[in-house]
Symmetry: C2
DNA sequence: CCCACCGTACTAGGACGATAGTACGGTCGA
DNA sequence: TCGACCGTACTATCGTCCTAGTACGGTGGG
């Protein structure tokens, strides 16, 4: 089954990139191993309620990264190095954004302890989710 | 003196909102108290290298929030409730973005400890900056 | 009183991304 | 073989945001 993918057109980050991010996460976490077939452009568009062209663009970007290879007629497949590339790309990006967000929160007056607490409470909620699986 | 304001047109967040965020931070942290005069539209545009219209839009958005009041002919001034409103708005927003970024980093496979360490190292760097002031 | 500076408004243009609709050729199972 | 499904490509249109240039009237110090 697909991870719970979704796209919010309200956010600053463009839909095509939101989708690409989530696919990268899924590939990086081995939800799709090398050779796996990703959802078709049309199916995925219907699933997250965006235009097929937008999905196609996300796939094209991922292909440019070497994570994925589209085979005309049959589908889009994870490459051999896909998981490694995805993990590297997302690891770097998310860590950068995390630091950026932390800095902004500090700049806005939040105490370091507040952020540390929030982080801990995320861990608790994550444990809850995993326990109920 | 102005805080070190800057705008990066490359980022996803539009320049006008980047600027508004930074002004909110400055007002929230009492760098500009009630009644303070903010830089003129033209000066600020020259400072951060964007169009005066873009600065004007940021001011208009802040005025809609009640943080600021533009007086035609004389300048843009922080309102009485400005600091409180700015603190509330930025506090909520930055905390939300922080949690979102933390969740994304965890989703991408980072360990909770990695994030906690990064957070601590930010504190260290922040102390360094404050020590050299 | 004046003139420099202020916020504000307006038009026009361009960049970018999403959307809509259509079309073409490849693939593969029934 | 044939038809359903696939990726891909293309054009056109829309909305949002920034840029550019111009203009107007209010404000306030010299």
């Amino acid at each position: 089954m697909n991870p719970t993918w979704s796209v919010d057109p309200q956010l600053d980050r463009p839909p095509s990139r939101q989708l690409a991010d989530q696919i990268l996460d899924a590939v990086a976490s081995d939800a799709f191993g090398p050779g796996s077939k990703l959802p078709s452009v049309r199916d995925l568009a219907a699933l997250v309620l965006i235009n097929p062209n937008t999905v196609s663009r996300a796939y094209r970007d991922l292909e440019a990264m070497g994570v994925v290879k589209g085979r005309s007629g049959s589908g889009v497949f994870v490459t051999e190095k896909g998981p490694a590339l995805a993990a590297a790309a997302r690891g770097e990006e998310t860590l950068r954004l995390f630091e950026e967000a932390a800095r902004a929160a500090l700049r806005a007056g939040h105490a370091m302890e507040t952020l540390a607490e929030r982080l801990k409470s995320l861990r608790a909620r994550k444990r809850d989710r995993e326990a109920t699986r």
